[in-house]
Amino acid sequence: MKALRHLTMAAFFCFLLAGAMYMHGVGTPERTQMDDYFIKSSQEETGANNVVTGILFDYRGFDTLGEASVLFAAASGVILLFRRKRNEQ
């Protein structure tokens, strides 16, 4: 049973090594049509110099709305969990 586990781990690490050898180079992203469009026209359409903020708050506004809602729900859950019980005092 232990030999089987070691064999599984060895196969997993071989798989990881093979995957890392064929990985695309870090720091040299490929160009796509979408990138070109955002870089070319984001400044004129949104008026923001920071293209990342222009995408986050304008083109992909629903993503930011979901992120803010998730943060709101998480904070509300923590406050609800740590509230003071009324019959305790």
């Binding site: 870090v26 720091g27 920071n50 990342v52």
Partner: protein, 83 residues
């Protein structure tokens, strides 16, 4: 040159993550997690993503460490064996 920095930072991130998992002192684990987050934000900065680097440095290094330490202060510092 920059490749060597990338490899060293990646090795440091993995080493800090493993050190955060090992050991029974939860406070030391939190400090290792904070160091991992700092190296991760430096790696993000080197990969030309300053937005993500600022968010990672503010949230991972500053605030989550404070919240973890508050939680440890409210519970126990040492992790129990078993269970």
């Amino acid at each position: 040159m920059i490749d060597a920095v990338h490899w060293m930072l990646s090795a440091g991130i993995i080493a800090a993550a493993v050190m955060a998992l090992k050991g029974r002192d939860l406070l030391a684990s939190v400090i290792y997690l904070s160091a991992m987050s700092l190296m991760l934000s430096l790696e993000f900065y080197l990969l030309q993503a300053p937005d993500v680097a600022i968010a990672e440095a503010a949230v991972g290094t500053g605030l989550s460490t404070a919240i973890y330490i508050a939680a440890i202060k409210k519970t126990e510092r040492m992790e129990h064996e078993g269970t």
